[in-house]
């Protein structure tokens, strides 16, 4: 059975999703535990896969028993496994959180919601695990469709947000499809490993450049890289909180994963770094995104919208790290995938918890929340501090590596952007701290009113992991460095 784990992580999800309607028709209350069970299984398998990759090297699984490039291959290296654990972990934790949160925000629709939830999780895992570029597209679509649907069940404006996301998402997916088509037409293969062998002789041809541009733009839309982020703030603001949390922690990260995969596995680093300055362009765009995202976040007063713009900025960090393309920055970028997931999922869950208890979204109305929901807000503080990059949190570790990488590249602008934008981050989070904990000095007693345990527990766990991994950041860094050393010359 063990050798089938790469496909089981997807098969479990698919079977789980197909069973959900049956279960839901029997008793709809069972849907949520079922989704938790399925995502838990996926999470466990992903941990095992990571362990296996670290212990025994890369895994290749031939679907249908066909040897690649004829069949579809699941190729798992450290990066895949790392992102798998991350995505599956987030999906699992949020599924526990979602029971109350979704039940409150979207009552009575458990059956389709959790079916789509599992499909979204599986779609994302499918993107990550695959070694076939067309298969990536297919799973991207599964995930995207589920995401559109889940976003659309939020408040009234969520419909339009979802529609715009769908338009952008379709453009993105079509670009990716077209890029895949170009690569296929020029090489005759769809397997990533095979592509990377056949592409080098074509470097320098305009068509490869166009294909690269299409793929990069397409994936950048999925990733919400500034200035293609326009779908993200609306979608995250108006989606149900659990969905915002999940998407913020996973989908954009999966997009980044795909970007890294295309850049560094399908197309070789030499090409994107030296032959064509794709990385250089991307890094400047990302730097602009960091600043723009932060500034826009400062301008927001809706807590979820602020977090969404903060995501735009943080995604800039990740892309900047990856696109500086030296070992340190790359390590920092990939580590920031992890840290941003942890922080942002936690923060969105807190936002959801606040909405669940009080319905407040305006950050200037959060007065006294620190007394009302002490644990939730403590988790928020940890997440936000990590976002700012205060040690000893995981956010600090990744920013440290990013800045170090920029220093290594001797690009002082990037050093300044990375370091100084944490101040901007501090500005928009500090407004919340002031309101939550200090604000107007009132002597009235505020009664403690925490969210239910099933919501509180994931929040606290994320906060704890943010802190713990910050203290033991060498663990993830060791894993990532292992991969980065193998990829970059």
């Amino acid at each position: 059975m063990i050798e089938h784990f790469p496909v089981l992580i997807i098969a479990v999800g698919l079977l789980g999703a197909f069973f959900t309607p049956i279960i839901g028709l029997i008793r709809k209350e069972l849907c949520s535990p079922w989704a938790s069970l399925i995502t838990l299984l996926q999470f466990l398998i992903s941990i095992f896969l990571l362990y296996q990759v670290l212990a025994a090297g890369n895994i290749s699984y031939w679907l249908g028993g066909w040897q690649p490039p004829w069949g579809i291959e699941y190729a798992i290296d450290i990066l895949n496994a790392f992102v798998l654990v991350l995505v599956a972990g987030v999906c699992f934790s949020v599924s526990i959180y979602a029971k109350k949160s979704l039940g409150f925000e979207v009552p009575g629709k458990e059956l389709p919601l959790y079916t789509l939830y599992i499909l979204l999780s599986t779609g994302m895992l499918g993107i990550v695990v695959t070694g076939d570029i067309f298969n990536l597209y297919v799973f991207l679509e599964i995930g995207s469709l589920a995401a559109y649907a889940l976003i659309a069940v939020g408040d009234r404006q969520s419909l339009m947000a979802s529609f715009n996301y769908m338009i952008m998402g379709t453009i993105s997916a079509s670009f990716i499809l077209l890029g895949i088509g170009y690569l296929y037409v020029m090489t005759g293969t769809l397997n990533m490993a095979d592509l990377s062998e056949r592409l080098p002789e074509l470097y320098g041809r305009p068509v490869i450049l166009v294909a690269l541009a299409l793929l990069v733009v397409g994936l950048s839309i999925k990733t919400a890289l500034f200035p293609l982020h326009t779908w993200l703030p609306d979608a995250y603001t108006h989606a149900p909180s659990a969905v915002s949390a999940m998407l913020a922690g996973t989908f954009t990260k999966v997009g980044i994963y795909a970007l890294i995969r295309v850049m560094f596995t399908v197309i070789s680093p030499e090409y994107v770094i030296e032959t064509v300055p794709v990385m250089n362009i991307l890094s400047w765009v990302a730097a602009a995104g960091i600043v723009a995202g932060s500034v826009l976040a400062i301008a927001q007063y809706d807590i979820k919208r602020m977090l969404a713009y903060s995501s735009v900025s943080q995604i800039g960090y990740i892309i900047l790290g990856v696109s500086m393309a030296n070992k340190l920055a790359m390590t920092g970028g990939i580590l920031h995938i992890l840290s941003h997931s942890l922080m942002k999922v936690g923060l969105f869950m807190v936002a959801g918890a606040i909405i669940y208890r009080t319905g407040i979204r305006n950050i200037y109305q959060l007065k006294g929340m620190g007394k009302k929901m002490p644990f939730t807000m403590a988790a928020f503080v940890i997440g936000a501090l990590s976002m700012i990059g205060i040690p000893p949190t995981i956010g600090f570790a990744s920013k440290f590596y990013l800045a170090w990488g920029a220093l290594e590249a001797e690009n002082w602008v990037f050093v300044a952007v990375i370091l100084l934008s944490s101040l901007l981050t501090a500005v928009y989070f500090w407004r919340i701290f002031e309101n939550v904990y200090f604000g107007v000095h009132e002597h009235e007693e505020i009664k403690k009113d925490e969210v239910p345990l099933s919501m509180l527990l994931p929040i606290l766990i994320f906060a704890a992991i943010t802190l713990l991994l910050g203290l033991f950041a060498s663990l993830p860094i060791g894993v990532i460095e292992h991969w980065v050393t193998g990829v970059l010359p």
Partner: protein, 491 residues
């Protein structure tokens, strides 16, 4: 010189951290909560005190915990300098806790649990800074200190306090960013962030301009030390409750800044580099400038706490001035002044707080005749003020004496003059308080008495200590001498 591995440094840091958690647990029972706070303070001091013998033998106590980032461990190394600072901070924490209990209860302040909790965390990180063996560890505690003191600064939660808090954060977080950059650069160039007696930047082929830039960013990074262009957070932060001003803004936070700056100057850059690049002299003049200008500012403020704040800014620069003289006497004077200033300044702040609590007065001009009502308080204040001015037989005199010698040694007469001038300025801004208190008649009948015992006893004790340190400076001096010997021998 062999090093000892021991868990004591970590225990010292943990003591107040555990205390902080206990404080949260017992938030509903004020007595137990404050008892915990006090117990944590005492045990912390005792733990640190146990390290004295080993250090006095000239040995280092080391503890390497895990690697937070690959190659960048959390590591403690207790040397004489660090231990001295740790001792001061933890010793004074005991008094401040006592004082806080009195202050907070008398004023019926809100959110006392938060107050004691943050205080404990802040102390924990102060000790962490004192014992850090490398820049990285130091930075972690440095940032935690910034964050944990913020709630203390804005404790009263008025809009004005919030504004001050923002200013505080703006300065210190920006400083943190510059500090982080500097650490990164050091690590990038040298591959280590460990402190070493001769400095670590020498002979690494770093261009001189880069060195100078690094020095500047480092000094911006230690903005906690309130050098002159970066000082304005400190007077604003005086909006905090007085115990906070006393311990944190006179002892812990600003001293952490100065301590950090000293560590950087002596243990990262090293004496040779500082000398060769001429950075030492430049810094000396920045410090001299700060001494004079801050004293002048102090003269203009009628608010006692503000005046004390500017006095702090000025006195801190004594320390830096001493350190950048780079001679044994100068460094001795500087390091000793960390100790002496701590005791004197905390006394002064305690007195200011006592006046606020007992008389409700903050302005110097309103303090006429206060000495008759609160004789003990004002006596302690006078002792502190005399020390500040460097009157012989007070603590201030000892350190100032070494500074004067140092300035002569390096042959910088302007610095000597600055030191002398500042003495007069000190007199000029402290004596009006004393004169008002003792010799001026109040406009109307005064009805208040001494502050509660909880507050009175600590301030008397610290006042007495600041005299004892002046009369019997041998013990601390011995410790400082070891630190200086290490530095000079490390060449």
């Amino acid at each position: 010189m062999d090093n000892i591995t021991s868990f004591s440094p970590a225990l010292a840091v943990l003591a107040s951290l555990v205390g902080a958690i206990m404080i949260l647990v017992f938030r509903k029972q004020p007595n137990i909560r404050e008892g915990v706070s006090l117990a944590a303070g005492i045990s912390k001091f005792l733990i640190i005190a146990t390290m004295i013998p080993a250090v006095m033998e000239g040995r280092l106590i080391e503890l390497r915990l895990w690697d937070v980032l690959p190659g960048l461990p959390i590591m403690f190394r207790v040397d004489a300098f660090g231990l001295l600072f740790g001792l001061i901070a933890s010793f004074l924490w005991i008094f401040t806790t006592l004082y806080s209990i009195g202050y907070m209860r008398t004023q019926k302040e809100h959110a006392q649990t938060r107050y004691f909790f943050c205080f404990a965390i802040a102390l924990s990180s102060t000790i962490g800074v004192a014992f850090s063996a490398n820049l990285f560890t130091l930075f972690i505690f440095y940032e935690i200190l910034t964050i944990s003191t913020y709630p203390l600064v804005v404790h009263i939660e008025t809009p004005e306090a919030m504004r001050a808090g923002r200013k505080y954060l703006l300065y210190l977080l920006t400083a943190g960013v510059f500090f982080l950059f500097s650490i990164l650069a050091v690590y990038h160039y040298t591959g280590t962030t460990d402190f070493a007696f001769g400095g670590i930047l020498e002979g690494k082929g770093i261009p001189e301009n880069m060195l100078k830039l690094l020095f500047v960013t480092f000094m911006i990074g230690s903005a906690k030390a309130a050098f002159m262009p970066l000082h304005s957070w400190l007077p604003s932060a005086m909006i905090a409750p007085t115990p906070v001003s006393a311990l944190l803004h006179a002892v812990a936070v600003v001293k952490v800044g100065v301590f950090t700056a000293t560590r950087i100057i002596l243990y990262v850059f090293g004496i040779d580099v500082m000398k060769e690049t001429g950075l030492a002299l430049a810094m000396a003049y920045v410090a001299a400038f700060t001494i004079i200008v801050a004293s002048l500012f102090a003269l203009t403020h009628d608010n006692l706490k503000k005046r004390l704040a500017y006095s702090t800014i000025s006195q801190l620069s004594y320390i830096i001035l001493g350190v950048v003289m780079l001679t044994p006497s100068g460094i001795t004077g500087g390091m000793l002044h960390i100790l002496n200033h701590a005791f004197m300044k905390i006394t002064l702040f305690f007195c200011a707080g006592a006046i606020i609590v007992a008389a409700g007065k903050e302005k110097i001009s309103e303090m006429n005749g206060i000495g008759k009502q609160m004789p003990l308080t004002m006596l302690a204040f006078t002792l502190g003020a005399l020390g500040m001015a460097g009157t012989p037989a007070t603590a201030g005199f000892v350190s100032k004496w070494f500074l004067l010698i140092g300035s002569v040694e390096i042959g910088q007469i302007p610095l000597l003059l600055v030191l002398l001038a500042s003495t007069f300025l000190n007199v000029a801004y402290f004596f009006p308080v004393i004169i008002n208190a003792f010799f001026k008649r109040p406009d109307k009948e005064l009805s208040y008495r001494e502050a509660p015992l909880f507050m009175l006893i600590p301030l008397i004790l610290t006042g007495i200590f600041s005299i004892i340190l002046g009369i019997l400076p041998d013990e601390p001096l011995a410790m400082v001498r070891i630190a200086v010997a290490n530095l000079m021998g490390g060449k």
